[in-house]
Symmetry: C2
Subunit: 221 residues, 2 copies
């Protein structure tokens, strides 16, 4: 019995959904609103944040912790690799996207255009949007640099690094903010990810009042 | 051959120093300034952040990634535990202090009183100090709640959870900002940590121009 408490606008929760599907672990879903201090969520996680995975009544909290737990408990279809240095590179890049990309790009663009709209209906701050767009260019160049040298971001195999990056980018893609045509190698890598069965759950996500950009669910964008 | 690039004001780097000492792994130290965009640091870590551990010429980046790498490569003296759920609890609490406590307490108090002083000589923002002090009370209560129920924060054994918490608190303690007398159980837990040989390296740290509070290096405060 496995239930994931998540929200469609949480990149951290999107990553865990991708990880669960990549590891072929079935789960029920409960969408909860982390901006409403939902008592069910607070009881599971005193930090009041999604995602929370409940497995046999044990709550497992924090996206990175959930991914590490799933690797510990279900080592098949590893998303970290086997050698310590290889695992370190996958974890380094996962943290890069979970923390640095989130703070420099998604907090500005997704935060202003989607989350602010859903939580307060306030208008986006144009300086934040400008900063987010500029930072996104630098990050796209870094992803391009990696995809020039490696099949997947951390090496020969798909890892949590790809899924962390895809989780962030998928939200930007929902609002049509990814300049795919500037970076063909990044686009080719993302097409490969987007075509995987694990990605289908994200492509069905909708945000009330904000229709997805035309490219979002299109596998041939 | 193992070198840690770190800075005395980085809680993340303090945690890694504690982990290396707890695992009895010897290392050289290089103090680098993450606020100066040091070219040596950027070459090792494109994010330009400390800590970076270099082992046999391989840079390992990001504090959590370094701790996980050390567990993978040197499983003796584990700081995570052995069972998946036990490891998840240690990781959950480590993330709590690394991210939530850092953002709600240390970014305000240590950020305003120490880091701002070292980087810009600007005066602290009194609203940030007030917010930090209020948030610290809530966090002290949470640590008290844990120490009432468990010998160490995540269970019977010392883990990365204790070391993450101690790394943050040690910086607050340097400026004399921890209300130890309000929470005797938290103080008793911190005395146990502070008395461990791994902690000695932190107690010798000094910040130029800012003398440590009287309690900082005192084991009987």
């Amino acid at each position: 019995m496995r239930t994931l408490y998540h929200h469609t606008l949480s990149a951290a929760a999107r990553k865990v959904r991708l990880v669960l599907h990549e590891k072929h672990l079935t789960f029920d879903e409960r969408v909860v609103d982390p901006w409403q201090r939902d008592p069910t969520l607070i009881a599971l996680n005193p930090a009041g944040e999604v995602p929370v995975l409940v497995e046999n009544e044990n709550p497992i909290v924090d996206a990175t912790t959930i991914c590490e737990y799933l690797e510990d408990a279900y080592p098949e279809n590893s998303l970290l690799g086997s050698m310590p240095l290889e695992r370190a590179e996958a974890r380094r890049l996962a943290a890069w996207f979970d923390v640095k990309f989130a703070r420099e790009v998604n907090d500005h663009l997704v935060g202003e255009k989607l989350i602010k709209r859903v939580t307060s209906r306030a208008a986006p701050d144009s300086r934040a949007l400008k900063a987010g767009r500029e930072n996104l260019q630098t990050h796209m160049q870094y992803i391009a640099w990696l995809t020039e040298r490696r099949r997947w971001l951390a090496g020969d195999q798909i890892t949590v690094a790809d899924l962390s990056a895809a989780a962030q980018l998928s939200l930007l893609d929902y609002i049509g903010d990814v300049p795919w045509d500037n970076e063909p190698l990044v686009k080719e890598w993302y097409v490969r990810l987007k075509s995987r069965p694990s990605f289908r759950c994200l492509l069905r996500d909708t945000v009330p009042g904000v229709p997805a950009a035309a490219v979002y669910a299109d596998l041939d964008f």
